[in-house]
Symmetry: C2
Subunit: 417 residues, 2 copies
């Protein structure tokens, strides 16, 4: 049993940030016992890790990122989605047929995620089975938990990376077998997006998802050209989501990245089926895809969390993604002639922490009984010498803190940085 | 005489980035002699500062920032412009009646600008004469060049910071006298914005600007509520710019920050009079003001450069401002139903360097005869292990490099970091 002492910042509900100054976050067997302004008498002998004037916050959940695109972070941003995929992405991902290369990059990536305070992920790998298993191993080794998917793509991509339908199936099975050794990193079925999967492959994946009770992740309604293409490929489907739905892939705990152009009907389908939106504001703007109607989704009760979407997004740190989501919501407000409300700092923080955590079975904020996922932020080097309240310091961190300010990271009750 | 050796990146024209790999940037008496792929025979004995595989780029120009708002960076971002001014800004600026406090903050700010590679500024101080002189002194001391203005405001603000008309005039004269000791930091007249200055004060400032041949900076058409207010205050003026123009303040080398809602007629007035737009994308989005039509301005021949606008903008590093301008232009593209083109990485970099430098009398990029203003970027710690071209590394730096990557900074031919 131990207690973290410091200013504890907790976002249990959208728009609510609870602050316990000089408080105690009490942990037993890795699980949260509670937050206390003063340590109760019965815990008086507890080992205290004193972070002094620093901020103790929930750690982050990155609900959409492409591990093999890490080496191309910040590149090709002058191109729109489909050209960007052809010029950079497929070629970069093809390098992961080399296991040594994969191990080097994924080891760096895993470390970078931890250093940025991301402890829970929902992640795309590439088509490569061995590299995917190496990725899962690296994540597990550094203490990150979550889901990773070997990508399936048997059409409309690039010869350097495309699989045959048969190979896609057999490699998926080999990958699923290989996943059994992992404890906290689990497999998730990952058809890249509708255009890159044949109906036969989608149908087979739907069958596997049902038989083995596996979760699914993919992309939805990111870009208008992509949506036109999907309509041509599946003329029987009125909307994009139905191309997943008809194969049993649009279901409870399916994660759909982007959802920029989802109209009311598509949003309702997500809500009804329990699909989660991984909102990736930086990527959607970099690729000039559009801005997802997050305020409407939240009002309608659609599940939304945040993703860095590296390398469509250029920022791997979730604080940058949170401030990016806030900025995107303000753009959406402008675009709506100031009708739609923007995301407050508290709402943005919730989307980057608790909203994603629920996908992994966690409760509201630092919830009693949950394994501890937390970061400790030292903001003493940040600008200005005014005396600020803890709430102001929290707000400033969302905009200004970098990985160098993240002094400690806890994942599943263990200190991993 | 000395030469910087490394990969030299030069943006002489909008959209053009010239790269000289393993080149020499030759400097004599602080002035640029030229860029050479190989050092010419006649310079063979020159002292070479070898930056190896690092990138040597132009340093940045920040054309709009509020020095006394530095302590509130990242705060109050959930508020719109006029509320944000009342709740945070005026109160924060009022602290600068304390000279000791001013000296401490401005010393930090000057250092932070240098560390981020900003060597030329066009800056607002507060109403305080002594603090403004302290600010100018701190900037000069660290080697930054440019313009700083004591703010004038004699109405519609907050008692904690408002001046009487008479005091505003007399303090402006006292400040101008005090500026005579500075070499490379010059005064610029700074009516805060139309609502905060009486017609009498604006008229007096116009007279001083003419008599002493002084430049002017202010704000223009940032926010729709602000524009309504200006219309009520000056019913004789059809548009906001005319409230400056009628007092002789809208002229060659006037810098107008924001210009978010300038229509064709207002843009034409800026072009005709040689007014420069300081585009502050981060601020305009944080305060949900709108997105300035930069592509149209550039097409129409209006002078545009970039400003961080701290603390409406939360990022002081101009690389962040450049990538923010690119993102804002992509939002504008989305908002225009994909009609307006976005800013490329090369265009964004030009706006953050050469476009601003021209305001201070510099030529195109690393122009022969100009004093050297440069940064050296060590990007070796940035993600990924792929072999990238220098052009790709440059592009990646715009999105990913932080002040910690800026290894050296030269201003007016002198190494200041």
């Amino acid at each position: 049993m131990y207690a973290l002492k410091g200013h504890i910042i907790n976002a249990p509900r959208p728009g609510t940030v609870e602050i316990t100054e000089n408080g105690y976050l009490l942990i037993g067997d890795g699980d949260i016992i509670g937050i206390y302004p003063e340590l109760p008498e019965k815990y008086s002998g507890t080992h205290i890790i004193d972070y002094g004037d620093k901020l103790i916050m929930q750690s982050f959940c990155d609900m959409h990122l492409h591990a093999p695109q890490y080496p191309m972070l910040g590149l090709g941003m002058d191109l729109p989605l489909l050209e960007w995929l052809k010029t950079y992405t497929f070629k970069t991902e093809a390098n992961f047929s080399d296991n040594e290369y994969a191990k080097t990059v994924y080891s760096q990536l895993a470390r970078e995620l931890v250093d940025n305070g991301t402890t829970r992920v929902c992640m795309f790998s590439s088509v490569h089975t061995d590299a995917t298993l190496l990725l899962m191993n690296e994540l597990e080794r550094v203490g990150i938990i979550g889901y990773v998917g070997k990508v399936n793509m048997d059409q409309n991509s690039d010869p350097c990376i495309e699989e045959t339908t048969e190979a896609s199936k057999s490699e998926t099975l080999r990958w699923l077998n290989g996943c059994e050794v992992f404890g906290k990193i689990k497999p998730i079925l990952t058809p890249r997006f509708t255009p890159s999967c044949s109906p036969e492959l989608l149908s087979w994946l739907g069958g596997i998802a049902r038989e083995r009770n596996l979760r699914v992740q993919s992309h939805l309604s990111e870009n208008l050209s992509e949506m036109d293409w999907v309509r041509q490929l599946h003329p029987d489907c009125e909307q994009y989501w139905e191309t997943y739905d008809k194969y049993g892939l649009f279901k409870e705990n399916t994660v759909m990245a982007h959802c920029v152009h989802c109209d009311e009907r598509e949003r309702k389908a997500m809500k009804d089926r329990g699909v989660m939106v991984a909102h990736c504001p930086d990527s959607n703007i970099n690729l000039a895809s559009g801005i997802a109607p997050i305020r409407r989704m939240l009002d309608e009760g659609v599940k939304v969390a945040l993703g860095s979407d590296i390398a469509g997004g250029a920022q791997i740190g979730m604080l940058d993604v949170i401030s990016g989501a806030i900025r995107a919501s303000k753009m959406k407000r402008i675009q709506s002639e100031w009708q739609l409300d923007f995301l407050s700092v508290a709402e943005g923080f919730y989307l980057g922490t608790t909203a994603g955590a629920k996908y992994f079975g966690f409760g509201d904020g630092f919830a009693t009984g949950d394994m501890l996922h937390a970061i400790v932020v030292d903001d003493s080097s940040l600008c200005g010498s005014n005396k600020l309240s803890v709430r102001e310091r929290f707000e400033r961190c969302v905009y200004l803190a970098k990985k160098s300010n993240i002094e400690a990271v806890y994942s599943d009750g263990i200190k991993i940085k």
